[in-house]
């Protein structure tokens, strides 16, 4: 059972890593002027909810399976994701707003955020991997 939880988490984590990389690539494309803000933001906004859902699921899963440490590790990031999503002003087109992304260093902060998430997911990935192997051995 525990192994199944971690296998799922591992897969989910892989997806999140890919998503983070995708975010980074798209944002840097925008930075380098390869795509315009409009298409960049519509691309990214599409994936904000999947990311949020994917991460929340893992977090909840960890809570349910009573892995407190991993749950607490995931909690701040999950909260941040939800907070960010909820706090989008009504007039904006999503977390990434093409009209504002170039303002006030937003692009940079988005980039930074994506980087941090990538690091975090990588960390989680190895943690899940380790836990999964441990669980499989224990089985």
């Amino acid at each position: 059972m525990e192994a199944a939880v971690f296998v799922f988490s591992l897969l989910d984590c892989c997806a999140l890593i890919f998503l983070s990389v995708y975010f980074i690539i798209t944002l840097s494309d925008l930075e380098c002027d390869y795509i315009n803000a409009r298409s960049c933001c519509s691309k990214l906004n599409k994936w904000v909810i999947p990311e949020l859902v994917g991460h929340t699921i893992v977090t909840v899963l960890m809570l349910i399976s009573l892995h407190w440490f991993i749950f607490l590790l995931n909690l701040p990031v999950a909260t941040w994701n939800i907070y960010r999503f909820v706090m989008v002003p009504s007039g904006n087109m999503g977390v990434f707003d093409p009209t504002e992304i170039h303002n006030r260093g937003q692009l940079k902060s988005h980039m930074k955020e994506a980087m941090i998430k990538l690091g975090f997911h990588l960390l989680c990935f190895f943690m899940y991997l380790y836990s999964m192997i441990l669980a499989l051995i224990n089985d």
Binding site: N36, S90, N92, T99
Partner: protein
């Protein structure tokens, strides 16, 4: 420019000249009246002289130098400056300002007219203009020279005014002297071939020049000495010319020359005279009096002969026997030089005029010949020139030395060369020489480098051994100190100048709490960057391009320390009276950063230039070597692109993604019951009918109409129909176009149908009962209609959209209007309008919103459609065509402007800045497509932009930074054009310098923009706090830098003394005020205006101007279009200034108030208002009657003058002291206390308290 041979635009050259030339030529003509051509221009010319037409009239800018010289010294004394150039040039401020001030006058003149960018090039003008232009060029080159030798150059200016004056009768004064330009330049043209570059020692008739240049390198150190020697000489009135000069024979003439000039000036008597002249001239200086010129003339003449002539002649003889003939003319020059300093334009003008006259008379033949010349003719000459030019290029070094040591020397020579001109025989030959030397004097690109030694290769040798700047500096200061006379001069000039703020002045600590009258009597002008004067002259007009800090801090840390915002304010598409338009097959740009070539690049040699933004070295294309203005070859630095910081290129097909679009206008009109009730349709249709022919466009112009209530109505105007056909689409959930191609029709082919429709439209819906408004679907339909072409959609809306996509709910709670706490709903309620705007923007369509509503209509949401599609927003609260006539009138006038103003389609604007700086936030109406690219579906002349900057890398290895905006657009005639503005600013390393260069108005406007963003993204109270903190932080930061001064009060640098006042004004502005009942839409509209108004208009909105108008006099009046416009002093915005027996005019930008005191002089009421007494003045009065009395005339001409050049036509409200409308008026008195806000003094105390915390 177009190639010599028949390029598609033979007129290309003519295009440019008209602008510069117009001014120059006319100016020239006035005093000299030499040739037949010039003669015609006499009248205008005079005007021109007095009135530098605002925009970069280069000729005028030339004037500037003179001012500099004189003022420079004065300033210097007062300032023990660290920053070399900074202090130095402080004097310059006035000049530009002057030019700025008077634009109106200039425009009417024929000369000026030629410059209009839009005006097709007048081929016939070419000859003359060319000449003039060249003159300009040469003068510019002068500047370059001086620039190129930073160290010596200062000295030179001072000690060698003579030179300046000579040759630059041209350079020095734009106005009268222009004639000089004219003559000279033309001559030069003619003589061109014969002229050899100074760099060629042998070839030059003026061997001395050559010598100097050659010797220069070796002599250098000595020269410095000589300079100092000269200085001392100067300090002691007795001329000590010989020492230096003797030592260096070749130079002798030069140095002697200069010293003499100085000594002459040094003579007390002369000085006195000069001063007197100056003072007398001071008034003369005013653009107003044509008389002044003549006066100054006579004066100068009187003065000159006695003193100058003897001295000069001696010098001359010393200099060279050949020169003797010129001596006669020379006497004038030294004097002139003296006068120069005084910056008496007219004086110089006169002198020059005289002098020039001589030249002109001698020159006429060459002149006429040149004027007739076509480009082709010049080709031969080019060839001749070519060789010489190449040689010159071969020996750039000497040139640079030359420049270093005294570019002025060559100038002198050139001047001397020019001076001989009077002699009929020698004239042709020498005359050409004059301009020539100057050209050489500006070694390609050396000029700038001089400023920043590190910057350029060429500069390096120059500096060798000499610590940069220091020599010049010391020399400079010496001058200043030694020359009290100069100080006096400058101080007397101070009165003259529009803005007397100088560097030191701007740093003077002001105790705000003790300074009662902080507001100056005259309008505040933009500070001028402390650049070397050549650069300054070339720099972009502050009207188009302004930076909040005219001294850029070296590092972000320094910027953070100063606590001042760093950013740019742009007005890129401003209506210009003079704009060089360049047609060229190749537009020269940097290969790596794509910067357009501009006056601030440096030419390493003739074939290469170094980008001033990324420092890449680029090749100069072959075509660029030919200068169509001078019709010469091998002078890339003389090309108009390099001589003007604002230019417009006609772009080739490389700059098009598709064929240029036609002008397309679509009107989307609300015809619901509410709209019909308000009655705007009548006004709109009427305006459209009147202006149908004036809509900008060409034969392809298309126009269309849509109306909507709960359904959408299209109008088929296809040519051939007997009457307009209305097509109704009631499916608003899925809008479609009923016919694909007959809804937008050619304006000319279907004109009759369009007129029919416009006549019928106001009455078509009179009985409508439809109250709903399906704005969203209508906009979607409009988008579909426009997307194939792009263009402009004008939306007229009178209520909250209530149907279909984009419907909005009322969000305003009237009870919260005067809340002091939270103001909600400043942001949009839905992203529908934003998305639509972005879609439109992608299809090159801009949406302009006219909101005429009596109730809340959620402008915050609706405005998005314009904000992101680069449209504009007009708001007419409680509009009704009969109940609110003033709004109706305003709509009418706004529409007239809106329909007829210039427009650019499918535009993009890119802002570039020197490596190390980066832009991070943009303000205005546009969509930021990529980091530095703003997508502007439409651009209009009333749009302003702001950009925030940060310093990413330290700027220690450069002394100048540049900013360039390039606006690529399709003109209404289907031409793809690029308008390029380049601004150059110095970099400073000390905090004091940063404060000295602060531009308080620009800072306030940028802060206002930032505050709008903050209040939308965060909250209004946050934004208000941030504004107050901006003052507190910057003043406390400044306070800590001057901690040695013992002050109890609130200390601000003089440059920022208005900062607290303006911030207080912002806090009381509709956009940011709290505690006063403000409707949400009003507030949002004020925010929209802050975001998209250019600085000039925004400042009026933030801090209105108050004048007392019941006692207008002609004192200090200016002349505009043959009208006398009185210039009453500014009053501070406080009720204490309102006396009951007076009448006051408040200029709030978009509205004027005339407040009539209870016991106002009955003469005024009778003469100006046309009523017998106070009691009989009606409550609502929006016009001043045209009475045939002097005071009425004055008042009206003043108000008309204020109204000119406003995008929003201000309506006039006459407010009686006791009328209820007076609260409207009193709310603008921002220095007074209100229930909810501080008075100015309280605010200061509050700030002080915060600082002490």
């Amino acid at each position: 420019m177009s190639a010599p041979s028949g390029s598609p635009h033979p007129a290309a050259s003519s295009r440019i000249p008209p602008k510069l030339g117009g001014a120059a030529a006319s100016g020239a003509a006035a005093p000299a009246g030499p040739g037949p051509g010039p003669h015609q221009q006499n009248g205008p010319a005079q005007n021109q002289m007095q009135v530098p037409s605002g925009y970069g009239l280069h000729p005028q800018s030339y004037t500037a130098p003179s001012g500099h010289y004189s003022q420079g010294p004065g300033k210097m004394t007062s300032l023990p400056l660290d920053s070399q150039c900074d202090d130095y040039y402080s004097g310059l401020y006035r000049v530009p300002t002057q030019s700025v001030v008077t634009p109106n006058t200039a425009s009417p003149q024929p000369g000026a007219q030629q410059m209009y960018g839009s005006v097709p090039p007048a081929p016939h003008v070419v000859g003359s203009t060319l000449g003039s232009f060249q003159g300009a060029g040469s003068s510019a080159s002068h500047l370059h020279t001086s620039a190129s030798q930073p160290y010596s150059s200062f000295v030179n200016h001072y000690n060698s005014p003579a030179m300046y004056s000579d040759n630059s009768s041209v350079a020095a004064q734009g106005f009268p002297s222009t004639c000089g330009h004219y003559a000279l330049s033309t001559v030069s043209n003619a003589a061109y071939p014969s002229v050899s570059y100074p760099s060629l020692p042998a070839g030059d008739p003026y061997g001395q020049q050559m010598f100097t240049s050659q010797n220069a390198p070796t002599v250098r150190p000595i020269k410095d000495n000589s300079f100092s020697g000269q200085n001392t000489a100067i300090s002691h009135p007795s001329p000590l010319p010989p020492p230096p000069s003797q030592q260096y024979h070749q130079q002798q003439s030069l140095s002697g020359y200069s010293t003499f000039a100085w000594s002459a000036s040094g003579l007390p008597s002369t000085q006195d005279n000069l001063i007197q002249n100056h003072t007398s001239l001071a008034t003369a200086n005013d653009p107003t009096n044509p008389v002044a010129d003549t006066l100054s003339c006579s004066v100068m003449q009187n003065v000159q002969p006695p003193k100058s002539s003897p001295v000069v002649s001696a010098v001359l003889s010393g200099a060279s026997s050949t020169r003797t003939p010129p001596a006669a003319s020379r006497p004038v020059e030294p004097l002139a030089s003296v006068a120069r300093p005084s910056e008496l334009l007219q004086q110089k003008g006169m002198q020059y005029g005289e002098y020039v006259n001589n030249q002109a008379s001698s020159a006429p033949t060459p002149l006429s010949s040149t004027s007739d010349d076509e480009e082709e003719e010049e080709e031969d000459e080019e060839a001749g020139v070519d060789s010489s030019s190449t040689t010159s290029s071969a020996s750039p070094m000497p040139n640079s030395y030359d420049a270093l040591e005294g570019g002025s020397y060559p100038d002198m020579l050139s001047s001397s060369a020019s001076s001989p001109a009077p002699d009929p025989a020698p004239a042709p030959a020498p005359a050409p020489a004059a301009p020539q030397p100057s050209k050489t004097a500006k070694p390609f690109g050396y000029g700038y480098p001089a400023l920043q030694p590190g910057y350029q290769n060429a500069a390096a040798p120059l500096n060798s051994g000499v610590p940069p700047g220091s020599p010049a500096y010391s020399g400079f200061q010496q001058y200043a100190q030694q020359y009290p006379g100069m100080n006096q001069l400058s101080s007397s000039l101070g009165g003259l100048s529009l803005q007397s703020s100088s560097q030191p002045e701007s740093l003077r600590p002001v105790n705000l709490t003790q300074e009662r009258n902080i507001l100056p009597m005259t309008p505040v002008w933009a500070p001028v960057p402390n650049l070397n004067l050549d650069l300054r002259k070339l720099n972009c007009s502050p009207d188009s391009f302004r930076c909040t800090l005219t001294n850029i801090p070296q590092t972000q840390a320094l910027l953070n320390k100063a606590k001042l915002p760093l950013g740019l304010l742009l007005h890129p598409f401003r209506d210009l009276t003079q704009l060089p338009v360049i047609t060229s097959n190749t537009i020269v740009r940097c290969r790596s950063c794509r910067t357009y070539i501009n006056p601030f690049v440096s030419f390493i040699d003739q074939r290469r230039w170094k980008c001033n933004l990324c420092y890449r070295v680029n090749d100069v294309p072959e075509e660029f070597m030919y200068n169509p203005l001078t019709r010469s070859y091998g002078e890339p630095h003389k090309r108009p692109e390099v001589q003007n910081s604002t230019v417009e290129f006609i772009a080739s097909s490389d700059y098009m993604l598709r064929p240029p679009q036609p002008a397309v206008y679509l009107f989307v009109l609300d015809v619901s019951h509410n709209a019909v009730e308000a009655g705007y349709l009548t006004i709109l249709c009427q305006s459209l009918l009147e202006n149908l022919d004036k809509l900008p466009g060409d034969s392809r112009t298309r126009i269309g109409f849509m109306t909507f209530d709960s359904t959408i109505h299209f109008y088929n105007l296809q040519e051939g129909l007997s009457q307009p056909q209305m097509l109704i689409v009631s499916d608003i959930d899925d809008v479609f176009l009923p016919t694909p191609d007959s809804l937008l029709v050619n304006l000319y082919e279907s004109k009759e149908l369009i007129k029919d429709l416009l006549n019928a439209l106001p009455n078509m819906f009179t009985n409508t009962r439809e109250t709903h408004s399906a704005l969203g679907p209508a906009l979607q339909a409009a988008f579909k209609l426009m997307s194939p072409t792009g263009g402009r959609v004008s939306v007229f809306q009178t209520q909250l959209p209530s149907l279909g996509a984009g419907l909005l709910q009322s969000r305003e709670d009237p009870n919260q209007r005067s809340s002091t706490k939270v103001v909600q709903h400043l942001g949009p309620a839905t992203d529908f309008y934003k998305k639509l705007a972005l879609d439109c923007s992608g299809q090159q369509t801009a949406v302009d919103l006219f909101l005429l509503s009596s109730q809340y209509s959620d402008l915050a949401s609706l405005a998005c459609m314009s904000k992101y599609s680069a449209g504009c927003i007009y708001y007419y609260p409680s509009f009704h065509y009969t109940h609110n006539p003033s709004q109706a009138e305003k709509l009418q006038k706004d529409l007239k402007r809106y329909l007829t103003r210039k427009i650019g389609f499918e535009a993009v604007m890119r802002i570039r800045c020197t490596k190390g700086l980066s832009m991070h936030t943009f303000h205005g109406n546009f969509f930021v497509r990529s980091t530095d690219l703003l997508s502007l579906a439409n651009i209009n002349p009333d749009a302003g932009f702001a950009v925030q900057l940060s310093i990413e890398e330290s700027l220690t290895d450069t002394s100048l930074v540049c900013f360039q905006t390039a606006l690529l657009y399709t003109s209404s005639k289907g031409e793809r054009r690029i308008r390029v503005h380049t601004l150059c600013l110095p970099v400073v390393s000390s905090l004091a310098d940063v404060y000295a260069g602060a531009d308080v108005q620009a800072s306030i406007c940028l802060l206002a923009n930032m505050a709008v963003d903050r209040s939308i993204s965060s909250s209004l109270s946050d934004a208000r706090d941030a504004l107050v903190n901006a003052v507190v932080d910057s003043l406390s930061a400044y306070g800590s830098t001057v901690s040695n001064l013992q002050h109890s009060g609130l200390i601000a640098p003089s440059s920022l003394k208005l900062f607290p006042l303006y911030v207080l004004a912002l806090l009381k502005q509709k956009a940011f005020r709290t505690g006063t009942s403000t409707r949400l839409d009003d507030r949002v509209y004020a925010m929209c205006q802050i975001k998209c108004q250019p600085l000039v208009h925004l400042m009026k909105m933030i801090h209105p101007n108050l004048y007392r108008i019941d006692r207008l006099t002609d004192e200090g009046a200016i002349h505009v279009n043959d009208r006398v416009v009185p210039q009453p002093p500014l009053q501070k915005l406080s009720a204490e200034k309102l006396t009951r027996d007076g009448a006051f005019l408040m200029d709030c930008g978009s509205v004027f108030y005339i407040w009539i005191g209870k016991s106002c002089d009955s003469n005024f009421i009778e003469d100006v208002l046309g009523y017998p007494n106070f009691a009989s003045i009606p409550q609502k009065m929006t016009h001043l009657p045209e009475l045939d009395t002097l005071s009425s005339e004055r008042a009206r001409s003043f108000i008309t003058w204020l109204r000119d050049n406003r995008p929003l036509n201000p309506i006039l409200h006459v407010v009686k002291d006791e009328s209820p409308a007076k609260t409207e008026f009193f709310q603008h008195l921002i220095e007074d206390r209100t229930e909810a806000a501080f008075s100015y003094y309280e605010f200061l105390l509050h700030v002080q308290q915060q600082i002490c915390k």
